[in-house]
């Protein structure tokens, strides 16, 4: 790098503090955030699947944690993040095709990803709870 000629630092991309938060901006941030949550959450998925493969004892340890409040919070968070990231990802793919890229549509699908992900995650949770009552 020709640092000698750089008298002033190069400008960075749009500064968070000087823009009002918009729904498209928020969903852009949340897409990245949920990507990171899923990345870390892959460890939890690995724990589950490895515990099942390792046998009854390991599974009991996982099960104990999964049934606790922190465990349930992680599972719900993971499910919501997966659904939100999936809807947000489909939105990105639509944009890659050159569709719905103008502001009114872009705002519209940003809201759809948010409301849709919360609704679907809650629905999944209720469906799971319903199945649990059927088993027990």
């Amino acid at each position: 790098m020709s640092a000698r000629f750089r008298l002033r630092p190069r400008p960075l991309s749009p500064h968070l503090l000087i823009y009002r938060l918009t729904i498209t901006m928020a969903m852009s941030i949340v897409h990245r955030l949920t990507g990171v949550v899923l990345y870390l959450g892959s460890l939890f998925f690995a724990w589950w699947i490895v515990a099942v493969s390792a046998g009854q004892k390991s599974y009991a340890v996982f099960d104990l944690f999964a049934a606790s409040l922190p465990g349930k919070t992680i599972i719900f968070g993971f499910v919501w993040a997966l659904i939100h990231h999936m809807l947000g990802g489909i939105r990105h793919l639509i944009w890659d095709g050159g569709l719905w890229i103008n502001l009114p549509e872009a705002r519209g699908i940003a809201w759809v990803t948010l409301i849709g992900s919360v609704t679907l995650a809650l629905t999944a949770w209720i469906a799971g709870a319903f199945i649990r009552t059927l088993i027990q």
Binding site: Y39, I49, V50, G89, G128
Partner: protein
């Protein structure tokens, strides 16, 4: 022998990350593949909620379910490695630190991915 290709020719189209549009494409392809697999995975989670060890084992060991989980693990591991690579390239700037983070990212994604696939195969092949 010196190459007749100019330095400019060698870097053309590779961009700041040095890998051209290949990563971009694989990110999109794995994103598309992830959608049906993630839906299937969520359905599996709902079906398995509150079930005991034996039920979980039977379901995961089912050939169709095992295949779905293996494909999801493979596709998601590639996808999450590329996604995190972009994030690292956005925020980590020192050369050494950046290379360390990128190596760590590849290592993490590989270990998680391969461990999961091994575990799924183990359940499925022994049931």
């Amino acid at each position: 022998m010196t190459s007749m290709r100019t330095p400019r020719r060698r870097v053309r189209g590779l961009g700041a990350a040095g890998s051209g549009t290949g990563d971009f494409w694989l990110q999109r392809v794995t994103a598309i593949v992830n959608v049906p697999l993630a839906v299937g995975f969520l359905a599996l989670l709902i079906a398995l909620s509150g079930s005991n060890f034996d039920t979980a084992r039977t379901w995961i060991g089912n050939p169709i379910v095992a295949l779905m989980l293996i494909l999801l693990t493979f596709s998601a591991a590639l996808h999450m490695r590329l996604g995190m690579k972009v994030i690292i390239e956005d925020y980590v700037h020192g050369t050494i630190l950046k290379i360390a983070c990128l190596l760590g990212n590849t290592l993490f994604s590989t270990v998680v991915g391969v461990s999961c696939i091994y575990a799924i195969l183990r359940v499925s092949l022994s049931s």
